[in-house]
Symmetry: C2
Subunit: 134 residues, 2 copies
């Protein structure tokens, strides 16, 4: 699979794919005799992993460290486990922050829906809802 096809498949640019490889976010990709990248199934699954992790906000550094450890062999299982656990923790926290912000947005949106109808905002212009859900 050419870099063009891969970039289209995953919705990232060719430059980004090369950048990911240079940064160690994915291991070196197989090449043709002429030196052109030829992504195989294994390469693709690394790309897919990288795209997924990046889309959630993991840093390039964290992902490339995981890839580095993976290529080092079985002795790095504990290190990899620790890394993944830490990243999960970070994502759970980010998810909480997003949920808290969604609560506030929902509250504000509800008020503005009324405001657009009636022409005026209810209560004070700024006042958080102190949500307590979950």
């Amino acid at each position: 699979m050419t870099i063009k096809e891969v970039s289209e498949k995953y919705g990232i640019t060719q430059d980004t794919l090369r950048f990911y490889e240079r940064s160690g976010l994915i291991p070196p990709v197989k090449r043709t005799a002429g030196g052109i990248r030829d992504y195989g199934p294994e390469d693709l699954s690394w790309v897919e992993l990288a795209v997924c992790m990046r889309s959630a906000g993991l840093t390039v550094e964290a992902i490339s460290e995981y890839v580095r450890l993976s290529r080092l062999g079985d002795e790095t299982f504990p290190a990899r486990l620790q890394l993944l656990t830490k990243q999960r923790e970070a994502l759970l926290e980010q998810k909480k922050r997003i949920e808290a912000t969604l609560d506030r947005l929902n509250y504000k949106i509800a008020r503005y829906e009324v405001a657009v109808e009636t022409g005026k905002l209810t209560w004070e212009p700024e006042e958080p809802p102190q949500s307590q859900n979950k």
Copy 2:
């Protein structure tokens, strides 16, 4: 309230508070006769809003546009509603991406917990779980 107190209260630096004000992420803060910032309750609630929205990943541009509209008066209710709705959409999508990534992390973590015990990874080294939850 001084800028130092506010920065401690919300866990951001004084420089960031000044940057937020310069960028229009919060409206201009009240000043003392000598030109020193003196945050009142209203200022604080803007700061709180900005910190919350930023922590969820809204851009400085989006938040400052909301603040700009807010200071323009009642005719901007529809524009504000539209802006908030769009940001909510973006956050819901980001939340989904995080949840998908959490699924993968959980899958991998479970495998590594076994691997650390047994000394070997089960199944193929790379293979997504194809989660289908929710």
